[in-house]
């Protein structure tokens, strides 16, 4: 599973400082640019659950923090890692960030977490390969007084210290609602998800289906497209042949969306409203093609690549004795035809996820472009 990303705005920081308990949230929307250093501070975050007391976790620095990455290899993870390392280098009380890679293997990740515990780290950040499998390992670490912060993808139960991420079901619902409105309550759609059986797509699609209830939206097919353009294009080409009328496409990731739109172009069919995330490839395609196809519209929700930065900051806050919310749910802003220009990065590769605090120069270095 690849992680999703989005953007929000908060006054989370202020809320936390004030010790605002269960539901501190405030928001201010930045205008633009959405990327760059402001991406984090301008994001909207909802705090949920009880407040985690910092006093219990307060320690004397310097700190050792471990990060168990479920896997690496897609550009989202690459940007996330870069941001996290950059953030770590800016904390004087953090000489050591130990990064371990689960290589997509559930049991390797459990082992990785146990190894971090035996290396006496003060905090463990984690993107889980499996929401259930890593829960016991994190619980054991938490019991030993280690601050444990899963982020991006959920971990079952609450036997970890704090969580940072988005709400996939809510995102799926919002995207579904946008598509429903774009189609004026009626039309035939197809849906493309990520890897077969992944929990993110399952939640997002469940949310979307709720949004379609009571409308005349007819779902012709739901298919896995692996969050890969080539796979999505192949699947969509089949669906195009089978269904003479496709009025819209629901996707939980924009690689799927871009592949689907390219299949429509190859079949010489007009582009239609489509949902997705902050993958630059689709934004560039929209910029290039929206003049040719008046019915081509986009509704996108990001999954911020800076979630790791917030996770690290949260860990350090706790270690310094500050309170934090149990869950920080990042609320992504909807990217549409109206505001996409604030997000698209024409000079950068398609693979860039644009909801990042990294500058264009940093991204160019990262993508060697």
């Amino acid at each position: 599973m690849r992680t999703k990303k989005n953007a929000y705005g908060v006054t989370r920081r202020q809320a936390i400082r004030l010790g605002a308990g269960t539901l501190g949230f405030a928001a201010f929307f930045r205008v633009f640019p959405v990327h760059g250093a402001d991406a984090i501070s301008n994001a909207k975050t909802t705090a949920a659950g009880e407040t985690v007391s910092g006093g219990k976790h307060k320690k004397k620095g310097p700190f050792r923090v471990g990060f168990s990455n479920g896997f690496s290899g897609n550009t989202w993870r690459t940007e996330m890692l870069y941001s996290l390392k950059k953030e770590a280098s800016q904390h004087k009380d953090l000489p050591d960030l130990i990064i371990v890679d689960g290589q997509g293997d559930i049991s390797k990740q459990v082992n990785d977490i146990e190894n971090l515990v035996s290396q006496n780290v003060d905090a463990i950040l984690c993107i889980a390969n499996s929401s259930s499998a890593v829960a016991p390992a994190l619980r054991d670490a938490t019991k030993q007084g280690i601050v444990t912060i899963p982020f991006n993808l959920p971990v079952d139960g609450e036997a970890w210290t704090a969580f940072i991420g988005t709400d996939p079901e809510k995102k799926g619902f919002t995207l579904g609602k946008w598509l429903r409105e774009a189609l004026r309550d009626s039309g035939k759609i197809v849906a493309l998800g990520g890897l077969p059986g992944n929990s993110y797509t399952a939640s997002a699609w469940a949310g979307a289906q709720k949004a379609f209830q009571g409308s005349n939206i007819q779902v012709l097919a739901f298919r896995d497209a692996y969050w890969q353009e080539d796979r999505a294009k192949v699947v969509m080409a089949d669906l195009i042949a089978a269904y003479p009328q496709i009025d819209g496409v629901w996707c939980d990731g924009s690689q799927d969306a871009a592949g689907a739109m390219k299949a429509l172009l190859a079949a010489k069919r007009p582009l239609v409203p489509v949902t997705g995330d902050d993958y630059n490839g689709l934004l560039k395609l929209y910029q290039e093609q929206n003049g040719n196809y008046p019915n081509f519209k986009i509704g996108l929700l990001s999954e911020p690549t800076w979630e790791g930065v917030v996770a690290l900051r949260t860990a350090l806050k706790l270690l310094n004795g500050e309170d934090v919310p149990k869950r920080q749910i990042i609320e992504p802003r909807l990217i549409t035809s109206e505001n996409y220009k604030d997000y698209v990065r024409p000079g950068l590769p398609d693979g860039v996820f644009v909801d990042t605090e990294l500058s264009d120069d940093e991204l160019k270095t990262l993508f060697k472009s």
Binding site: S72, G73, N74, T75, R77, T78, E79, L81, P196, G197, A221, F222, R223, D224, Y226, Q228, E229, D230, R231, K233, V234, V235, A237, D238, L239, A241, A242, Y243, G259, K262, A266, A267, G281, P349, D350, G351, L366, F367, K368, S369
Partner: protein, 324 residues
């Protein structure tokens, strides 16, 4: 009224048998899927299937050679990914860089095949382990080379191979069939081809006959890698972009296409023409399960069941065959 006489039917069956039983499966699946989902009968969808089948088809031609010599090549997935990453990062959307970047990709793939072959023949590593290891190394190398953030794109001229049409046929299909014909000729009509079969059937006997077994094995793996590279390049041309996960889908589907096409996992038996049918069959099946209204779980069950059934049928129909 037109009647099919038993003699004529039997002649027709013999003809199909000579081609390979997989073609019966291809036609049957086409008819059944078309009756269930009429979309399958559309000319556009048929051309679409042939276009998509080309990528798997070329990779599977290479896999056939590895299986013919009694081995297996699981590094094809890594080679496809490597070719995709290398060619996009070197081409950078320019036409001037087209030829050199294609050549470098092919040479790299040949080097990978040479390493596979050397590991298997000189270091005596089991083909499955050697090529799976190479596959892992190639994925890691692609990750290191790109830093996890691939960039680059293909030149518009190159896009024609994967996206264009010629005389109404997808260019990728034409490339595939041309490569298939050449490889079929090499395996059936040249002494090198005969040696491939001999080495796969019985390496010890082949050695006694004076066949340079190691050289033949290494050549088979080099050709397998080069074919995987060509398949990867066509797929790259189809999508235009680098993608680190692009080759994964071929790891086992390439073996499935070859086996469905009638090539024996034990070596020494099989044909390129059968593999072409196998690749069409697998792609047809994917397309059908994409179109038909079933849940994700049912799709996988359906795909597995149909593949198993077709192999069973192959054994039943193909067992009377005298030549492959």
């Amino acid at each position: 009224m037109f009647m099919i006489s038993p003699a004529r039917l039997s002649r027709a069956l013999r003809f199909v048998n000579r081609l390979g039983a997989v073609w019966i499966a291809v036609i049957l699946l086409y008819l059944v899927s078309g009756l269930i989902s009429p979309g399958m009968f559309q000319i556009n969808e048929t051309l679409n299937i042939l276009q998509i089948a080309a990528f798997l088809g070329i990779v599977a031609i290479g896999q056939t050679l590895a299986l013919l010599v009694g081995g297996i090549d699981l590094s094809v997935a890594g080679v496809v990914t490597m070719s995709n990453i290398v060619v996009t990062s070197l081409m950078l959307g320019q036409s001037e860089t087209l030829v050199p970047s294609l050549l470098i990709s092919i040479l790299l793939a040949a080097a990978v095949g040479f390493i596979n072959g050397s590991l298997i023949t000189l270091a005596r590593v089991t083909p499955l382990v050697a090529t799976l290891g190479t596959n892992s190394i190639l994925f890691g190398a692609s990750l290191v080379y790109t830093g996890g953030a691939p960039h680059g794109s293909i030149s518009p001229a190159f896009a024609v191979c994967g996206q264009g049409h010629i005389f109404g046929l997808p260019v990728s299909t034409v490339c595939w069939l041309a490569i298939g014909l050449v490889m079929a000729w090499i395996t059936r009509q040249t002494t090198f081809g005969r040696k491939l079969y001999a080495v796969g059937a019985n390496p010890a006997a082949a050695r006694l006959m004076g066949i340079p077994v190691n050289r033949i094995l290494i050549s088979a793996y080099v050709l397998s890698s080069v074919m995987a590279c060509l398949g990867g390049l066509l797929l790259t041309s189809y999508i235009g972009l680098p993608s680190l996960g692009i080759g994964d889908q071929f790891l086992l589907t390439s073996v499935a296409a070859v086996v469905v096409g009638g090539t024996a996992l034990s070596g020494g038996w099989g044909s390129i023409v059968g593999t072409i049918g196998g690749a069409i069959f697998i792609t047809e099946l994917n397309s059908f399960t994409n179109i038909v209204r079933v849940s994700t779980g049912s799709r996988f069950v359906l795909q597995g069941a149909v593949i198993a059934l077709s192999v069973l049928m192959y054994h039943l129909v193909g067992s009377k065959r005298t030549s492959s």
